[in-house]
């Protein structure tokens, strides 16, 4: 999977990861993939909800052992 950009939101709490994601994805071209790293416990539910609502495609959501969440979003 070719990632066009990575956004590290570790240390940020809701709603900042989503708001930063919204801003950063605007800089991408349709079809490009954004990788977001988050450690806010709400992120696991928030990213699928955000993707469904905005029409961007959630390719993968992966939780690491240390609790970090890696999200891969394809811009619509």
């Amino acid at each position: 999977m070719e990632v066009a950009k990575t956004l590290d939101t570790r240390g940020m709490l809701c709603p900042m990861p989503i708001i930063k994601t919204k801003k950063v994805i605007q800089e991408l071209q349709p079809g490009e993939i954004l990788e977001v790293i988050a450690d806010d416990p709400g992120a696991k539910e928030d990213f699928p909800a955000w993707c469904e609502q905005t029409g961007n495609e959630l390719l993968k959501l992966e939780e690491k052992e240390n609790g970090d969440i890696y999200v891969y979003i394809k811009k619509r």
């Binding site: 809701c14 709603p15 900042m16 989503i18 955000w50 905005t54």
Partner: protein, 137 residues
């Protein structure tokens, strides 16, 4: 994904720190979800639109405001001013209640942003009537 943008209408009637943060967080998140967000500030809520206004905790909790703000900072929660600015950047529509402005002698130039619309109840209710979500804070 919905073809038509969802609409969120929020009324803010108080100006304590807790009641300042909640609508700002919901408004910015709503905008990030591609919803059209309208926030109407009325009564004490109008204080939140004043330049340099610093919301404090309510009543007996007031002396602990600084403690709460530094705790929020430690947890990387954006400040009220930052959230207010984010609202503007994300295109959240902000309305000031015309009656409250008159009652509390607040001038348009006292408000933090020139694009704030001064409206009456009918205008806000017209927006709320066809909103998908309406919240009163």
């Amino acid at each position: 994904m919905a073809e038509e943008r969802k609409k969120i209408a929020i009324v803010v009637s108080e100006s304590s720190l807790d009641k300042a943060m909640m609508p700002m967080i919901l408004a910015t998140t709503g905008a990030a979800l591609d919803a059209e967000v309208h926030v109407f500030f009325t009564f004490w809520g109008m204080n939140l639109l004043k330049k340099d206004y610093k919301p404090k905790l309510k009543g007996m909790m007031k002396p602990f405001t600084g403690m709460m703000i530094s705790k929020m900072k430690k947890h990387n929660i954006p400040t009220f001013e930052e959230l207010r600015q984010q609202c503007k950047e994300l295109g959240v529509k902000i309305y000031a209640c015309s009656t409250t402005m008159d009652l509390m002698d607040i001038k348009k130039e006292d408000l933090f942003d020139k694009s704030i619309e001064v409206v009456g109840a009918a205008k806000f209710l017209q927006i709320a009537l066809d909103a998908d979500v309406t919240l009163f804070i």
